[in-house]
Symmetry: C2
Subunit: 162 residues, 2 copies
DNA sequence: CGACTCGGTTGCTTGATGCAACCTTGTGTG
DNA sequence: CACACAAGGTTGCATCAAGCAACCGAGTCG
């Protein structure tokens, strides 16, 4: 994205995208949700350019979506945690993932599953548990490797993308 | 966005964002959902550069999210309609809008409301109707100007963005 | 005949992204 | 002690996409 803003747009979707619509941003949020909290972890997981990751993390902290906490000093090292505002992005991520799964499916099924921590049920595109019917939030759910992960990884190998 | 792809990512969110994560793309989809179907309408509504709009529309048609139909010939003029795949983006848009409304609110309330066509009830961040409780889909809902629109427009005037 | 509409395309400039190299503080190893 | 390595970045440079204005072709209106 060039500039991240959409001048003249009076729309909460546009306002949301000004913040989380930049390239990589939502993937960073998802990664932090899945437990990758450190710069290096995120960089290896996403293969994003380090300067871009750095810029995005700074922006996300400014916007109060992430919180930067030192987990040791000398040398100072940091971890990034989601704030409530960040956790509230969960329904949007769930909806996007469901859309991707439905309309560009992997041959062997979804590569990632989101399940209800309590009962293990899968989650639908609205973030409700398919087995117990509860409307869930970010803290109620957990991501797991899905049935399509293996074959997707194998295909990546074959293409040489490692 | 530079390239829209996220190489090495095995994740349905990444796959979804490869298509709809480019700048302007989701706003175009939202605009078409709200009834702006023609090139000129979209351009005026979004104030997006014409070449970019052209490129996005082409991509969205290729990806089977929009369908391009002639509404007259000589000269041929076209309209864009959402396919089922495009309509399925509705929950993601709803979630993003809800997030924007909650975390960057306009002083007088949301500028746009999404309501259930049947009963007029407002819609929550999961796309369920707050008044009748039904889980809705794109065709069940309609966007309306909300209470915060006036003041947001006034502020835009003041800034001179027209 | 000229002005205008619609739906684009073309060319140019600006600026974000990707990549590699480097930096700083500190720890582990020979 | 020297050297390598880790974490968490920053800097410089090349490239590619976005923003903008101008133009175009087919047709319509006055």
């Amino acid at each position: 994205m060039l500039r991240a803003d959409y001048p003249g747009q009076i729309c909460s979707i546009a306002k949301a995208l000004e913040v989380v619509g930049e390239r990589w941003t939502l993937l960073i949020v998802r990664d932090v949700m899945n437990g990758n909290r450190r710069f290096g972890e995120l960089q290896r997981s996403l293969r994003v350019a380090r300067n871009v990751l750095s810029a995005r993390l700074q922006r996300l902290v400014e916007e109060d979506i992430l919180e930067r906490r030192a987990y040791q000093s000398s040398p100072e090292r940091y971890e990034y945690f989601l704030t409530e505002k960040g956790l509230d992005l969960w329904p949007a991520l769930v909806a996007l993932q469901a859309w991707g799964d439905r309309h560009s499916p992997e041959p062997d099924g979804p590569p990632m599953l989101i399940v209800h921590k309590e009962c293990g049920g899968e989650i639908d595109d609205r973030g409700t548990c398919a087995s117990c019917g509860k409307v869930l939030h970010a803290r109620d759910a957990r991501a797991l490797p899905g049935p399509g992960l293996e074959s997707a990884l194998a295909e990546l190998e074959a293409v040489g993308a490692r």
